[in-house]
């Protein structure tokens, strides 16, 4: 975790209301991994007292740049769109724990819903760099909201679903998953919670049958890894990147928790944002 000044290099509205900004921040580009995020300060401290968390959309160590992808939803995100090239803002990062890809996984299924693309986009780069095959399933409300193929690596298989059927599959992106589930060794998802919950349901039905589970892992061999450890997550078929309203983003304020199946809330900023799907209590079991 570092606190760095990041200089805006390029700001682009890629879709109506959706922006990608590139920042020169070598201290963040180096050593960050897919799934991690940055916590960015607006310079309007009297009006906006909280930083804004953004997934690291892509990172390029060679040029020392990272990009963030966001939708303008309020005063904070609008403030970012008014920045000009050369402006320097204050970023805290890289924060959180990254996606854990099993070294034996060859076929990665990425599932993104809407802005969830920002959560898994970096993983596509990492996976292709490591010689894995990537299929990216993307769900959006309509063709207008589809993430441009020109911003994806050529190697990625890109399949889309739209709610109104204006492009690709007519329906939810989760309905596409069955078709690829058998092919995939591991799956990684980011998006609205109902989407993640549906995927977790699908993943639960296939535990131990396919994918990594059959790649030469002996049943009962060795000790089980502690829940939430990187090793345990690496063995999970589905890892999800969770979203929650965030305060400090370093684990101090306990604002951004999610309920886990062990009954203890876990911090999205510290234990997450990436969790194995079976770590999460999808019913939101706050006993009150």
């Amino acid at each position: 975790m570092r606190l760095v000044g990041a200089e805006l290099i390029e700001s682009r509205e890629i879709l109506p209301g959706q922006w990608i900004q590139a920042y020169h921040a070598p201290g963040l580009a180096t050593g960050s991994r897919a799934g991690q995020f940055v916590h960015v300060r607006t310079n309007d401290l009297a009006g906006m007292v909280l930083r804004r968390p953004f997934s690291i959309n892509t990172a390029d160590q060679g040029t020392g740049t990272i990009t963030i992808h966001f939708r303008t939803v309020g005063r904070g995100t609008e403030w970012f769109t008014r920045l000009r090239s050369g402006d320097t803002i204050d970023m805290l990062g890289p924060l959180g724990r990254p996606f854990e890809v099993d070294p034996r996984s060859r076929h990665l299924l990425l599932v993104a819903g809407g802005l969830g693309m920002a959560g898994v986009r970096y993983l596509a780069d990492e996976a292709i760099r490591d010689g894995r095959q990537v299929t990216l399933l993307f769900g959006a409300s309509s063709a207008r909201e589809l993430y441009p193929t020109s911003l994806l690596p050529d190697e990625v298989e890109y399949v889309v679903a739209t709610d109104d059927g204006s492009m690709g599959h007519h329906g939810f992106v989760t309905e596409l998953v069955q078709e690829y589930e058998a092919w995939a060794d591991q799956a990684f998802a980011c998006g609205p919670e109902p989407m993640l919950r549906a995927l977790a349901g699908l993943a639960a039905t296939r535990r131990g049958r396919m994918g990594v589970a059959r790649l030469g892992r002996k049943r009962g061999a060795g000790k089980a890894d502690a829940t939430g450890s990187p090793a345990a997550r690496r063995k999970a078929f589905l890892q999800v990147s969770m979203e929650q309203r965030m305060g400090c983003a370093v684990g101090a304020c306990l604002g951004c928790v999610v309920m886990t199946s062990s009954g203890a809330p876990q911090r999205v900023c510290r234990e997450g944002p990436v969790f194995a799907s079976d770590e999460i209590d999808w019913e939101g079991g706050w006993s009150r």
Binding site: M1, R2, L3, V4, G5, E7, I9, E10, H24, A25, P26, G27, R41, L45, A46, M48, V49, L50, R51, T58, G62, T63, G64, T65, T67, G76, A143, L146, T149, S150, L151, P153, D154, E157, Y158, V159, V160, M167, G168, E179, Y180, W183, R245, G247, C248, V250, G251, A252, C253, L254, G255, C256, V257, G263, A264, P265, G284, W286, S287, R288
Partner: protein, 373 residues
Amino acid sequence: MRAKRRVVTGPGLPAPARRTPTVRKRKSAFEPVRPTPPKMTIVPAPDYLDARSIGVDLTVDIGRGLVLPNPILVASGTFGYGIEYGDVVDVNRLGGICCKGTTLRPRIGNPTPRVTETPGGMLNSIGLQNPGVDAVVEKYSATWAGWRVPVIVNVAGESVADYVEVVRRLEGVPGIAGIELNISCPNIGKGGLQFAIDAEAAASVTAAVRRATDLPLLVKLSPNVADVRPIARAIAGAGADALTAVNTLSGIAMGATRDRPLLGNIYGGLSGPAIKPVALRIVYEVCQVVDIPVIAIGGITELADVLDYLAAGAIAVQVGTAIFADPALPARLVDELADHCHARGLTSYRSLIGSALPQRAGAPSSKGVEYRP
């Protein structure tokens, strides 16, 4: 086997646009080509000027042996257990750390969402999520004992017996410099606030804890009362060593679809610059009616806020919400306060305290609460 589809959504652009690396133009042809200078600035960057080295005394004597190295503390709930910010903050530059509210038994806290930003502030309803006093002592006290900065444990409970038991378990633990009684948390159903809105209840819990411990005892006041002065007097009379003013103001935010309030707990506590005038008024009032030190808290984001609270009679301040945006702020305020005193030829910051208080405390009002219209 598997039908692969490739959906092209745009006009078939040739190549994915690489994130264009900026070509940094040299200012002149004579300038030697150097690798891109690192843009990184790690905070804390400069070696700080020790307040003592410029002849300013910033130490704060709270009483009962608790001497803070400087009057800038970090507020409970905003700084975890002191370790979360890692290398970004040098804790030993702080005047004190109030740790996350600690209860007898572990608490899972309130349903989410738990935080939201509001104009000039934020609402939180964490609900005192914490692992319980025994786990806190086991996990963190050894670390705290190695620090120069005093760590004050914020204690919350549902009953007087709870408070007493927690404090008993903290008594004598190395690394724990004091207790801050949280009798004013607005976010838990049972207990919490009920002690802070009634002078008798506040005095009884303070007295009970006082009997149970020799640790320095701070009591945190709630702003959610009509007149805080009788409560402050009662707490001082019951043996508190200092008062902390104030906790968050109770509030709600509305969800985007307006079918229910946004926070999982419905109610949250408002903090940040938005509450500073309220907190300043309460500090100003309390400092006129009690003889024990008052530690101010509420919306501090710059040195001017610190000076305001000192002028209103506070002996020290706690920085809270602003840490989220600027983790380096508390340490910077220490330096700025020392510089401020130095520039005015003061040898101690203490001459700033209470400069705005009336020379003699006015007679108690017969009309009740003055600030009401």
